[in-house]
């Protein structure tokens, strides 16, 4: 990692990060404080939808800005005309991306816990566990999705292609997961989307929370351990795409 580049990257991306992080913290805070909403309820009415979409915006926009946009505009020439290895540039950008997503959900999770304590006058250990695991799941999901955008950003010279491919895949995956969620005839779409690997029901069951079904009918008793292997797949997708992106960026031609 390069400290100067990291500082510069944080400076250039912090505002979007801050806005989206505040929006999420505000939503969950208001919901829990105002409505005394139990964790199981927030899982269905909030976590199943909103954070995924908000962070998708961040992932798509930032993914492009971190590499492809800088190659497209030509500003990358100034970083690479100094004695910094390309791999180091790539890893610094990747570290920022992953770190900022981690911070985003750490803040969201903490806000939820604090709001719950204040709003409901207390919080159980299982509730804390559920909240932390749900946010960890969102982080794992975004680790995988950001990896896909990072890979797209690393291989394309033009922003428009990086956004079309990276953003296209992330958008399509969210869309497929939503369609499957709202209409069971689209259930087959689940297997094409990593978004469905973020298994809230399993996390709730694991933390001894009530599991509410979206469609109203009683949910099948979820497998309380399923989220663990799903986390592993998300981690693997993220790891592979980040490593591939960094490697390809270090090896390819740059029009600078």
């Amino acid at each position: 990692m390069n400290g100067t580049l990291m500082k510069q990257t944080i400076k250039n991306n912090i505002s979007l990060w801050a806005i989206l992080t505040i929006v999420q913290a505000f939503f969950i805070g208001a919901m829990v404080m105002g409505g005394k909403t139990p964790v199981s309820m927030t899982a269905m009415s909030y976590y199943a939808l909103l954070p995924g979409l908000i962070s998708a915006v961040y992932v798509i926009v930032t993914g492009n800005k971190l590499i492809a946009a800088q190659v497209d505009k030509g500003t990358m020439a100034y970083v690479l005309s100094t004695p910094i290895r390309r791999t180091k540039v790539a890893l610094t950008q990747a570290a920022y991306f992953v770190g900022s997503l981690f911070a985003m959900f750490a803040i969201a999770g903490c806000t939820h816990i604090i709001a719950h304590r204040l709003g409901a006058g207390g919080i159980s250990g299982d509730e804390v566990k559920a909240i932390l695991l749900i946010n960890a799941g969102l982080f794992m999901l975004n680790f995988a999705l950001s990896g896909i955008c990072y890979l797209a950003s690393s291989v394309f010279n033009l922003s428009k292609y990086a956004i079309a491919v990276g953003g296209g895949i992330v958008g399509a995956m969210h869309l497929m997961s939503l369609m499957a969620k709202f209409n069971s005839s689209f259930d087959w779409l689940k297997s094409f989307s990593v978004v469905t690997l973020f298994d809230i029901d399993s996390i709730l069951a694991f933390s001894n929370q009530q599991v509410l079904s979206m469609t109203g009918h009683a949910a099948d008793a979820p497998d309380g351990a399923a989220f663990i292997w799903k986390f592993c797949i998300l981690a693997a997708v993220g790891a592979v795409t980040y490593v591939a992106g960094s490697t390809l960026f270090a090896k390819r031609d740059l029009p600078l």
Partner: protein, 302 residues
């Protein structure tokens, strides 16, 4: 002097005849080397290879014996660069930009950048986004020279500069040469290259068609070109009957252009003294005339 930049059989094939094909050239330490050619001839592609941004299809290039692709980042310690397209990082002012680059380079302070900015009459405290084309270009030049690198790779560094600033730039390049720096610069402005370069390579469709020593062009050629206009047709036609090497005739203006060795110049005056001459002028050979002649007469073999 030792060769500091070596390009051997460099080929970068982009298809459809675009790219670079079998380029060989070397630049000596302390030399100012120019690269000239029309848009799309491959100048920028060549410089990008030297910067390690592009990987050769075949062949290799090296700086100070180090491979430009493999050891790109080590070489950057010794290289200053003006890119062909200027797009600054997301910082506020010129000063902030210099500070950022200095930090990347591990430099202590930007005093040299401040001096250079003053020399180019550049207000570096101005916001980068508001800067005119010329100011941006000046900022890029200051950035390339501020780290006092041994080698400078300049891709059309004077685009957008007014003639006065071009003069400041060529003076700076000459000064750096005297301090032992090696400069590799591309340009499509002949007079700029003519005034600073030791040698110039002509690039056409990705091939080097000629490398010329500027000293051969700079006025010490022994055969010179003269253009003469006569007052009346009779004299014009009578002169054409004389045994001079006529290069061009323009009958409607009663003008003729001849080439003649210095040794025979008195013969010319003897002949002319019998005629009524409107004017006579020597056409100095410039890099431009040399280039255009060469360019039009060279077919690049595919």
């Amino acid at each position: 002097m030792e060769n500091i930049i070596n390009i051997q059989n460099l080929t970068k094939d982009y298809g459809l005849g675009r790219g670079l094909f079998g380029v060989n050239l070397s630049v000596r330490e302390g030399e100012v080397f120019g690269l000239v050619g029309i848009n799309g001839a491959g100048k920028t592609t060549m410089i990008r290879h030297l910067m390690g941004f592009l990987h050769p299809t075949r062949g290799k290039c090296s700086i100070m014996g180090e491979d430009c692709w493999r050891n790109a980042e080590e070489l950057k310690t010794f290289v200053g660069y003006v890119p062909g397209e200027i797009a600054f990082p997301d910082v506020k002012s010129g000063i902030d930009f210099f500070k950022l680059q200095a930090e990347y380079m591990g430099m202590n302070g930007i005093s040299r950048a401040v001096d250079l900015a003053e020399r180019f009459n550049l207000d570096a405290t101005a916001r980068l986004k508001r800067m005119s084309k010329g100011m941006k270009q000046k900022s890029a030049i200051v950035n390339a020279f501020m780290s006092d690198s041994d080698i400078l790779l300049l891709d059309e560094a004077t685009t957008g500069l007014d003639p006065l600033m071009q003069k400041v730039f060529t003076d700076l390049v000459r000064e750096e040469k005297h301090r032992g720096k090696t400069v590799f610069m591309s340009s499509h402005m002949f007079d700029e290259l003519e005034s600073v370069c030791d040698r110039v390579a002509f690039l056409k469709e990705g091939h080097i068609i000629d490398i010329i020593e500027l000293s051969k062009i700079r006025g010490d050629e022994r055969v010179k070109e003269y253009k003469i206009e006569f007052v009346n047709d009779g004299d014009y036609l009578a002169f054409l009957g004389k045994p001079f090497n006529v290069k061009q005739r323009q009958e409607e203006y009663k003008q003729v252009t001849i080439t003649i060795p210095d040794d025979d110049i008195n013969e010319l005056f003897r002949v002319l003294s019998a005629f009524e001459v409107k004017y006579i002028t020597q056409k100095p050979q410039t890099l431009e005339t040399y280039f255009l002649e060469k360019y039009n007469n060279t077919e690049v073999s595919q």
